[in-house]
């Protein structure tokens, strides 16, 4: 089944039905039809907890008057009446809006589809019974370990999506994609102590997913490696983020370098274009063209053609990531980032885990982060943490119930070493990172 197969036969009429009243009101607009087919099975301790399967559709509309007054609307009822109401309501809301010289459809010459391969495997060779059996196998292997008392929140899922975008200025684009996931979460017990560990694999091609043995082994390892934990001593200490947490950290760049955040003065990088925002040697790239990449896309949410962008080169901030509003307002290049980053990655270095630990010396190897105390305007970064205390390059004991606090500006400039181990999946990727400048709160 291809993404196109989800598209209703009357999609052209639907999109025209929504845009006609917009034109009649003397406004410009962009309508997007989305269609999806979703299947998900969730498992707990060998039982099928839930099977969820459905098709969904919807249309969203953005309307602009010449002076920039604008509004948005959406609905998932595709009947004539509902679409007429959608257009009328959106036009009325836009008419009541405020003029804004930077608001409008993007320049049509910037719009189109950049070539990108592998967005969908068309569910080729995908068999739901087989996929469920694989998920049950990961679950069974995890529970076969005597230390594991239960599994839950694991399972398997498959999503196929199609979208078509049409604007009053003649832009007409469509694309689609597939996405699969498989995961297992295990709960381990040792005496009075309980820990959890999970692993998940996801991607656009089901044949590339990692297998049940690897998932179960990683979940078991994570669930059992922290027994006998202690708190670590309070005070400043260098840390290593493992590759998953480093990727989450690098993901902040999507907000820090966002054109929308810059004009609102809500990024602590707002005054730092062309400056050293990261340690030298740090290069961060957003690449929407990676074949089969989870974040790959031929265009952004406004239909602006995608392009590869070096955001940070050797530590120096190169560019903002913009949508059409921010690009006009700031007078900078339109980069096709309406909706956020695509495949964002921090380029790997040379150091393996042993070398990273040696470089760390004494500090915390962080394998888990909790909480929300992060603000890209002030740069505040304050979270609960867990991991392993390292002494003189050797792992000493597992650590939990500690906090880490610092400022992101200092953390990005404090990247002292870069690992060679980027996580192979996900829209945002990074190798492990050794970072100075954080304070640990513990005992």
């Amino acid at each position: 089944m291809t993404p196109m197969d989800l598209a209703p036969d009357n999609r052209d009429q639907l999109l025209d039905a929504v845009l006609a009243p917009v034109r009649a009101a003397g406004a410009a607009g962009r309508a997007v039809l989305s269609c999806a087919d979703d299947w998900e099975v969730s498992l707990a301790s060998g039982n099928v907890e839930a099977v969820e399967a459905s098709r969904s559709q919807g249309i969203s509309l953005r309307v602009f008057f010449d002076d920039g007054r604008s509004a948005s609307a959406s609905c998932n009822d595709l009947s004539d009446d509902a679409l007429a109401r959608l257009a009328a309501d959106c036009v009325a809301l836009a008419a009541a809006g405020a003029a804004d010289q930077w608001n409008g459809l993007p320049d049509p010459s910037a719009c189109g589809l950049s070539p990108v391969d592998g967005l969908s495997d068309d569910l080729e060779g995908y068999d739901r019974d087989q996929a469920l059996a694989t998920a049950l196998e990961a679950d069974r292997i995890a529970r076969a370990d005597k230390r594991i008392i239960a599994t839950h929140r694991g399972g398997v899922g498959c999503h196929l999506g199609y979208w078509q975008m049409r604007s009053t200025d003649g832009i007409d684009l469509s694309s689609g994609g597939s996405r699969y996931q498989l995961g297992v979460l295990a709960v381990a017990q040792d005496g009075d102590e309980r820990q959890t560990g999970w692993d998940m694999t996801s991607g656009r091609h089901h044949r590339n997913l990692r297998g049940p043995e690897e998932l179960a082994a990683t979940a078991i390892r994570r669930a059992t490696e922290s027994f006998g934990w202690k708190q670590a001593p309070s005070g400043p200490c260098p840390i290593i983020f493992d590759n998953r947490l480093a990727a989450e950290f690098v993901g902040l760049v999507g907000s820090l370098a966002s054109g929308q955040a810059v004009y609102r003065s809500s990024t602590c990088w707002g005054d730092s274009m062309g400056e050293q925002v990261c340690a030298s040697g740090v290069t961060i790239i957003d690449d929407p063209g990676i074949p089969g990449g989870s974040g790959s896309r031929p265009c952004d949410g406004e239909g602006v053609r995608s392009q590869r962008l070096t955001v940070v080169e050797n530590g120096v901030l190169q560019t903002w990531m913009t949508d059409s509003y921010a690009a006009r307002r700031l007078g900078v290049a339109l980069t096709g980032h309406s909706g956020g980053t695509s495949n964002l990655s921090l380029q790997p270095g040379e150091l393996d885990r042993a070398a990273m630990l040696a470089e760390l010396g004494t500090g915390l190897l962080v394998t888990g982060l909790h909480g929300w105390g992060v603000d890209t305007a002030s740069g505040q970064w304050s979270r609960g943490a867990q991991g392993f205390w390292v002494e003189n390059g050797e792992i000493a004991y597992p650590v939990q119930e500690v906090t880490l606090a610092g400022r992101m500006q200092d953390m990005f400039r404090g990247i002292r070493a870069i690992g060679n181990d980027p996580h192979p999946e996900g829209r945002t990727r990074s190798p492990s990172l050794l970072i100075d400048g954080l304070t640990l709160g513990g005992s």
Binding site: S54, S74, L86, A98, A150, G384, A405
Partner: protein, 470 residues
């Protein structure tokens, strides 16, 4: 009189869908017909910045056999599509023939916990713009370092009908008004933000009870606090938590751990502990949906179960879990009316509503005086919990050092972490000043957001880990 569901289904179709849901051998089937409208407005730089309306509808059929559930939905109201969804959901059972029939559908009596005098759809956009302008305009005047103000108003109306093979026939109309703002102060290269939002099951009369001017003053005050405060020190220390907002600790440390789905599967830190002492005898906690107009208030849950007050912990002893119909049946527990679903696209699961620690006997000022060296935590951000361990965390956005029993220096950027059962046993003082926090909290669980409220009196925990840069 609440407005009627814009696209209702009749009893006939509901009964047919239920029968189709039971056809393969399920022991329970349910139809859920939802229609929702979300209206959103943001106001910045002295004008409307964005404005939207989103309408969503769907009819979901759920079939349950043992511990397994099948869910399928359609987004048209056409009977053939509803029945197709029912057949898809029914396939969770494999007996091939029905094992039970539906009870006759009977109306569920629904409370009146929402404050609706003027229907939300009757509010003119000009009226909403005027409110947003007040929020924004007042904030702009309050501090010379105000660099950006973003005011927002979001209102939603959600209708649902639910019919099930246990004889449930219920419907509700659920309004929510959410409003507030974020303010950014700038001093050279330093930027700090403050937020104040509320969400209430009310019409726009909520702004007469909590004025835009008050919200603006709070947001600016919190941004100014962060600008002027020192970094919080890091270490383990006693913490006094101020009434209201400290409910985030109760929500994270205890609330999630008492949701029955985790306990049924034996994965919560509170599993198998009913009737045991899990907290200091000063601690009593309830989860209720009855306090009128609150964000977490509910007439019925999304399964049609009437909502009341559920006792969770009474003087330190664990008395109950939060159940949906599935957990209640499998665990042989009372149905607490805690089955909530984000929309027709998801399954109901046990969720919190208004989670409250009950007031005690102590004088809040005396509680502070009792601490020699510690922290007074007054305003809070979000948090999270690992329910298997019971380890939780949350952000503190306004706090002060306590030195020699006195509140001294303001400190910022604190994260508190702890273990739920341990923290509850370390509650050594509980004030008499219980209050529900005014906020717009959305709880996330299994990818589903649910609007919730919480509240506490002032209370003291003898030892918590405090994280900060200082």
């Amino acid at each position: 009189m609440p407005p009627r569901h814009p696209a209702p289904i009749d009893r006939d179709l509901a009964e047919q869908a239920i029968a189709a849901g039971l056809a393969q051998g399920a022991d329970f089937a349910e139809v859920f017909n939802e229609y929702s409208i979300l209206r959103s407005l943001s106001y910045e730089e002295g004008k409307v910045k964005s404005s939207s309306v989103n309408v969503s509808q769907g009819i979901a059929v759920r079939a349950v056999v043992g511990e397994s559930q099948g869910l399928a939905f359609c987004e048209t109201g056409r009977p053939e599509d509803v029945l197709a969804a029912a057949r898809s959901a029914a396939a969770i059972a494999t007996a091939g023939v029905p094992q039970c029939t539906s009870l006759p559908l009977e109306d569920v009596q629904v409370g009146e916990r929402y404050i609706i005098e003027q229907p939300l759809s009757a509010v003119e956009v000009a009226q909403r713009i005027a409110l947003a302008e007040r929020l924004h305009g007042h904030a702009m005047t309050l501090d010379p370092q105000v660099a950006w103000v973003s005011a927002s108003l979001v209102d939603s109306e959600r209708w649902f009908q639910v019919a099930a093979s246990d004889g449930t026939w219920a419907e509700d109309y659920q309004p929510m008004v959410r409003g507030g703002l974020s303010v950014l102060l700038q001093d050279g290269a330093r930027r700090e933000r403050g937020y104040k939002m509320f969400g209430l099951r009310s019409d726009y009369g909520a702004f007469e009870r909590h004025s835009p001017e008050f919200l603006a003053e709070e947001a600016v005050r919190l941004a100014r606090f962060r600008m002027d405060a020192e970094p919080c020190p890091a270490g383990t220390m006693p913490v006094v938590l101020a009434a209201g907002g400290a409910g985030v600790l109760v929500h994270e440390a205890v609330g999630h751990g008492l949701e029955a789905d985790f306990n049924r599967k034996g994965v919560s830190a509170y599993s198998g502990r009913l009737r045991e002492t899990v907290a200091s005898e000063l601690v009593s906690i309830v989860d209720e949906g009855v306090t009128r107009g609150e964000r977490g208030a509910l007439n019925i849950d999304d399964e049609g179960t009437p909502v009341g007050e559920t006792e969770l912990i009474d003087q330190g002893v664990l008395r109950g879990y939060l159940t949906d119909k599935l957990s209640a049946r499998l665990m042989d527990l009372p149905a607490s009316g805690s089955g909530r679903r984000e929309s027709y696209q998801s399954l109901p699961i046990p969720r919190m509503r208004i989670t409250r620690m009950k007031g005690g006997q102590d004088d809040p000022e005396a509680i502070i005086k009792s601490v020699d060296k510690g922290l007074y935590a007054v305003n809070f951000g979000g948090g999270s919990v690992d329910i298997s361990k019971g380890d939780y965390n949350f952000e503190v956005t306004e706090a002060y050092l306590i030195e020699g029993g006195k509140i001294t220096r303001p400190v910022r950027g604190a994260t508190l972490v702890g273990n739920g059962p341990e923290t509850l046993c370390r509650v050594t003082a509980v004030g008499h000043d219980e209050k529900i926090d005014l906020n717009a909290g959305t709880c996330g669980k299994d990818g589903q957001g649910a609007p919730v409220s919480f509240g506490t009196p002032t209370f003291k925990v003898s030892e918590l880990v405090v994280g900060g840069e200082g």
